[in-house]
Amino acid sequence: MTGLRLEGLTARYGDHAAVAGLDLAVAPGERLALLGPSGCGKTTTLRMIAGLLAPAAGRVLMDGADVTRHPPERRQAVLVFQSGMLFPSMSVEQNVAFGLRMRGVPRAARRDRARAMLARVRLDGLADRRPADLSGGQAQRVALARALVLEPRLLLLDEPLSSLDAGLRDEMRELVLALQRESGVTTIMVTHDQAEAVAMADRIALMLDGRLRQVGPPEALWHRPADAQVARFFGGVNFWPGRGDGTRFDCALGPVPCAAEGPGLLTIRPEAVRLDAAGPGALPARETGRRFLGAVTRLRLVVGADGGEVIADSPAPPETITQVTLPRAALHLLPPP
């Protein structure tokens, strides 16, 4: 298993820094998700790790060895493209065996290994098909097999699930996770979908505008975002500027009991707002709108004399709402904007 370290990694397109001084360490066997909106530099970072793009500055280290100047074919860091990029002139089996062929594995051996790998991604019957005859999900699995058959040091996945529809997505996610656990390969995946990152990664590195904003386990980014932008990316909608004194936080909602100290933005996830119980610290509220979103209903509530707004998600909201409770443990103070 291979560890990866990026030091001050920078990429420029003209004058624009697509990736600016990125520092990141990935432990051997870890699954890390590089998460961010499109254009944030995550795919550029992945290409620099694969060796397909030379960084303008910085270093890429694999197990402590500097590979920044190594060409892609010497890195054993295999990139699986979003669209699979299966070679159209080769059969499925030839595609899977391609890397082995490049390594000089004899024909019979690479045939056996390719067939075995195809069985592991449950495509045994399709060895002789052409890529053009495959569905999107099948092509994606062949691309995965083509990478994993090489037992690479790093597996790099570029939006592995984005091109698949909902049903296939769950199946593919479980398959990727199962194969990754089996092989223990250090995996870095790029995605713009926070749900995908949360479900697949041991740790998430959130990138915005070419910079790392927060790195940590999914729970940490979800419940303890570093700033309002990170919180928004994970679906945060409640932000109240104000000041806390350690026992209460003064903001547009009025005094909110919590342990926050100093100036900042108080936040709470919409699904953590409680509507049912009138407990200690309950705040009087008035409903101004509700919208059914499927799994939850989103409610807009006005709280306090200054017209502060609270947005709450609830799977089964009561008919009438007169008060809300913001549980102390769910409240989180962000730095002032």
Binding site: R47, A50, G51, L52, P71, P72, E73, Q76, A77, V78, L79, F81, S83, M85, F87, P88, S89, F98, G99, M102, R103, R130, R146, A147, L150, L156
Partner: protein
């Protein structure tokens, strides 16, 4: 039937076509079959006519016998084959190389691209005259070499024009066709993008093997198509070998023209036979080449 809306106007969808396809194809077929097929048929008739006088006919295979029995014809065939083959091979090599260089992003790419395409507008004959002035034994390069003391006289300069290897002719075709093949190849390369190659590199292929195993099979149909056009043109064209070719053997089209303009009208059927031979051989070679290279594309 769906209509389209474009810039505020509603464009009605095309009516369902009721005219049979063969009717729609007829105007084009009449031109192609009438001019091309008619010309071939007339040529064939004339090659079988031993009577030089107009209006008279005397069926005979004599002209075909003289053409096929003459060793000079086969020497000409060999020369034309060599000219077309060498020109095509070199044009493909350089054309693909130029396309590979031009597809990357680099400073001055627009200028380089413009320079490469510059001579597409120059007629073959003008290029040939240029080559003549440049490369003949009394040409510009020979004079420079003489002035520099590298040679003592015109005869010391290597014969590139009117030479048995037809170097000047091949050079002229390569000069003219490299940009053509480069454009064709570049379009194909840009059509497939660079991610296939990136995927191959990531899987452990070096640049050369990524090209050979992954890129080439995808651009091969386009390059082969371009190469077939170059080959057919170089095999059948008259003006360049007429200007830059040696007196023996002559390229096949030059030989045919000579027979056609011979004061002895009895030789005209030979010209027709030669012309038909060129068409047939060229067609056969192109077919064989296309089949050998699987022009039909990657399955």
């Amino acid at each position: 039937m769906r209509s389209l809306r474009w810039r505020g106007r509603i464009i009605p969808a095309a009516p369902v076509r009721t005219v049979p396809t063969w009717v729609l194809l007829t105007p084009a077929l009449v031109v192609v079959l009438g001019l091309f097929g008619g010309g071939l048929a007339l040529g064939a008739l004339r090659s079988l006519d031993a009577d030089p006088l107009p209006g008279q006919m005397a069926w005979s295979l004599a002209a075909w016998g003289r053409v096929l029995g003459d060793g000079g014809t086969w020497a000409s065939f060999g020369l034309s084959l060599w000219i077309a083959g060498a020109s095509t091979l070199l044009s493909v090599l350089f054309g693909v190389a130029v396309a590979l260089m031009l597809r990357g992003a680099f400073r001055g790419r627009a200028l380089a691209s413009w320079l490469v395409q510059l001579n597409l507008a120059v007629p073959h004959l003008v290029g040939a005259v240029g080559i003549l002035y440049l490369l003949s034994q009394s040409g510009v390069l020979a004079r420079i070499a003489f002035a520099a003391g590298a040679i003592e006289g015109p005869a010391d300069f290597p014969a590139l024009i009117w030479d048995p290897w037809a170097a000047g002719i091949v050079l002229q075709y390569v000069w003219k066709e490299v940009p053509f093949l480069a454009l064709v190849t570049l379009a194909a390369l840009q059509g497939i993008g660079r991610d296939y190659e990136a995927a191959a590199r990531s899987l452990g292929a070096g640049p050369a093997r990524a090209f050979a195993h992954v890129t080439w099979p995808q651009i091969r149909p386009a390059v082969t198509g371009g190469a077939v056009i170059v080959f057919a043109f170089a095999f059948g064209a008259y003006e360049i070998p007429a200007l830059l070719g040696a007196s023996y053997p002559k390229a096949m089209p030059v030989l045919a023209w000579e027979r056609f303009t011979d004061p002895d009208l009895a030789r005209r059927p030979e010209a027709m036979a030669l012309a038909l031979l060129i068409a047939a051989l060229c067609g056969a070679l192109v077919l064989a080449g296309a089949r050998g290279l699987r022009l039909g594309g990657v399955r």
